[in-house]
Amino acid sequence: MDWGKVKFFLGEVGRNFTRNAGMQATAIGTVAVTVVLLGLFLFVRLTLAGVGDRLLKQIEISVYFHTSATTAQENHLRDALRADRRVASFTFVPKAEGLKELRRQTQGSIDVSILTQNPLPDKFRVRVTDPSEVAAVADSLRGQPGVANVVYGKTIVGRLLQLGVVLRRISIVLIVALLFVASIIISNTIRLTVFARRREIAIMQLVGATATYVRMPFVCEGVLHGLIGSLVALAILGIGKAALWSKLALALPWLELNSAHVALAPIALQLLAVGIAIGALSSWFSIGRYLRT
């Protein structure tokens, strides 16, 4: 290992970086603004997705038995539910329990005591792991012996799932657009720094530097822009979260804002990676036009 070479290379990067502070600040600022926007966007997207998921997870399938259904048939279904991997949980609600529930729900608006016998059937309440499989699970239960009816919020499940798909598509388009715009802005900023050094680049090539050799310090500089910009952005996002999170949770309680619902560390890493990639790629392409041959 020739440490002299490493020292020389780092010296070149450092020298370029400390010169022209205004331009560096602009490039870093652009990365920071982009990453903040991207971070906010990812956060909103994840929160919405979380809300949707929680709504969907609350969807229950009610499996009603014929009043004539036998205990054997009910046990058979219990075994089937236990074996089914798509099923997250299920509870058996015997008719007596059902009546109590009905009483609780109606809270006296209907006088249940007029009933001389319990008209309710036994039922299973089933929750599935993956909301998109609600319909399939419901269908498979419908054919079981002793089962009279299978009911779930068909319309709401369909709409929520549809909404999820649309939201995901829109957000991908928006993210791509945001990255594209950011890359253009950053490329232009870096192009200015490259333009300021075009004479230097020409001289480097004149004494026999290869295109890659000329490029490397610039790309490292871009990586630094990306790294510092993303760190600044993460700091802004962190401070913003600390200041606003609890207020937001109070203002919109139904969002059930809870740090546990949004995994922040992976987002932070993604944002860092995106920032660095934007910086490096923009530099790579900005310098291209000043490299002859």
């Binding site: 002299g4 020389f8 020298r15 001289i203 090539q205 004149l206 004494v207 026999g208 530097a209 295109a211």
Partner: protein, 236 residues
């Protein structure tokens, strides 16, 4: 060393810089390219270090078809020849030492090699005592000597000089020409494009005169003007 065969060069804007030029330059030669401005001297040099590509013809430098080179091979060619210019083309934020060392860094030379070779070269051009100075702190002659040091630090077989004394006073001019001559006697082929008549007439080396992109005259031990010494007037 250099073989230029039937070379023409037309720039994209339509200007014809060189027109069917054929020229052989032997190893160890010292050659002046003369002619008034815009006659193709710089263009001819540019072809040799691949800053321009001929429209027609072929160029061989030290066995390499320069006109066919692309990409990294161009960089490799430039490491094997030195070029100096009227405006020195030094990196202003680097010291004399760093400017010279830079030409070695790009070749991937080992630091130990750089630390051995740079002082030796600065010694040769007489700038050892100013190695820590920046170009802006040097005189024109010293800047050009720095550029020469940078050009020869990799021991090139060929040194190309485009108006090397164009910005210098007579005293510095003489020093630079002495230096070039010394480099030449060590075996490096030197090609100097100039319109400095006194330099050419004093040194009595091979003189190639270009006119309108063509070779007009080619003399061993020539003068700036064909067959005439300094002070004489070209008539007709």
């Amino acid at each position: 060393m250099i073989s230029i065969r039937n070379v023409s060069l037309t720039y994209p804007n339509g200007v014809r810089a060189l027109d069917n030029v054929t020229l052989e330059i032997a190893k160890g030669d010292f050659l002046f390219l003369v002619g008034s401005s815009g006659t193709g001297k710089s263009s001819l040099l540019k072809l040799l270090y691949h800053d321009a590509i001929p429209t027609h013809g072929e160029i061989v430098v030290d066995g390499i078809r320069v006109d066919k080179l692309r990409g990294a091979r161009v960089a490799s060619l430039r490491r094997h020849l030195g070029v100096i210019f009227q405006d020195f083309k030094l990196l202003n934020d680097k010291t004399v030492w760093e400017n010279v060392a830079f030409a070695m860094h790009v070749t991937g030379a080992h630091t130990r090699e750089i630390e051995r070779q740079v002082p030796r070269t600065l010694d040769l051009v007489g700038l050892a005592h100013k190695s820590r100075m920046f170009p802006s702190e040097l005189s024109g002659g010293e800047q050009q000597r720095t550029a020469i040091a940078r050009a020869i630090v990799n021991n090139p077989k060929l040194l190309l000089c485009d108006e090397p004394t164009g910005n210098l006073d007579p005293e510095n001019t003489a020093e630079i020409m002495d230096l070039l001559l010394r480099i030449n006697t060590k075996g490096t082929t030197v090609v100097v494009a100039t319109h400095n008549q006194s330099v050419v007439d004093r040194m009595r080396k091979r003189v190639v005169r270009l006119e309108d992109g063509r070779i007009f005259t080619d003399e061993e031990r020539g003068f700036y003007y064909l067959g005439l010494g300094q002070g004489q007037v070209l008539s007709g």
